[in-house]
Symmetry: C2
Subunit: 268 residues, 2 copies
Amino acid sequence: MRRLDVAFSPLGLGPPDVQGRTVFVLDILRATTAMCAALHHGARALIPVASTEEALRLAQTIGSADVLLAGEKDCVRIPGFALGNSPLEMTEQTVRGKTLIVTTTNGTKALLAAQGAAAVYVAAAVNLTVAGERARQALEEHRDVLILCAGREAVFGLDDAYCAGRLAIAALGGRKPRRGLNDAAIASLDLVRRYGDNWARPLSYSRAGRELARLGFGSDVLDAARMDAYPVLPQFHERRVTPAHQTPAQTQVASQPQLHPLPQPQPS
Amino acid sequence: MRRLDVAFSPLGLGPPDVQGRTVFVLDILRATTAMCAALHHGARALIPVASTEEALRLAQTIGSADVLLAGEKDCVRIPGFALGNSPLEMTEQTVRGKTLIVTTTNGTKALLAAQGAAAVYVAAAVNLTVAGERARQALEEHRDVLILCAGREAVFGLDDAYCAGRLAIAALGGRKPRRGLNDAAIASLDLVRRYGDNWARPLSYSRAGRELARLGFGSDVLDAARMDAYPVLPQFHERRVTPAHQTPAQTQVASQPQLHPLPQPQPS
């Protein structure tokens, strides 16, 4: 039987919940939106890490001028970092050819919680169609997809939950079974029914959206609502986020960009 | 400002999240429904405990013929226990005058997670009007209410989430602000908009409801959907669930039932 689950937060998710599954990680405000923006604008790779300290240590280890530190704590750029967590900062001029070491409050944690899955992709409104297409394929071929919301401080976030519903609809390809869906998946479809196609409403109603607007990041919320604005499919693999290989039906990209070798993670 | 939060599961909830607040615990399928049924039918008190072992130990310590063990694991009555977790078992004949030691998969854990709150009540469809009235009062007087869903194995359950929305609407008394609501509260109101007044639909769509039907407990799901069938307001206080004192506007009940003294919890 096909199985499509939504998890509203990574909290309580253990390795058995992700192992062998195709996982889509969402943190639409703003981590996964910013990741799509960065890769769409030519960043070579993103390396999500769990803490500021780990980011600094890793940057030092890699020691390349092509590395940029990116990340926020409580929505604000971490002091000394080149970039925050705004998709609008991820311009071609800034990120092309660079490797970004990224740490964010919720998004990074969700990605790291998905380690051990068969494949981990990054989704948001800005890449919904390509992500949805891959989710549909995965559901057809492997019959087992998990949409993992970063949530807000590990609890339910309306923004991610609505995005999960949009992705679930794309994955189901218009069919609307309840069989094979967990309760969170059903509720996320209900939210899409409630808000319709309008990304801006659930994003601006959500606490994350209201908080960002209050802190002067309202334009980030608008950017995150631009469906298919950054049509790239980021994949998290071997601790890096890079554009996914194209689908088998398409031609394989001839030359993968050269990646920095990554040191093993250090206990912190 | 008024603050009305919903938590879709107790996972990640710490003492600061409950401290000083008025908390309503929901596990509509079936723990909180069964608790309402038991107290409505004259049970003296319910004592929720975290494990079968603790239930057996406590029963032995109290050592009274008036004590009944009640509880389920994976929906099925625990071997050796007098009662399972079905509201239909909680008849007047069985429970009147008894103290029930109760352990259930999710409901008990949620109640225990609410310890430290200013007041903890038990809610379900079967007592929605009385619980909603108390929630409305609490929101007016203390301006701070948390509706805590037991969830299903600590993740989102559609049944509890819908019930949370119904209780939130009652607490808000018809007003529909988004200010002061967390994202889960907004989504639970969205679910009520989606399913309307029909308790049976979200309950039967939920995985808990489907699982119960599959195991032959379909009549429990129907019973749990009977709004105001057991109009009692259980309160969790000093490790016991008993009928709440009546509201100040009403006459204080003259004589509280005599309660067994409870031993201190043992480390297990």
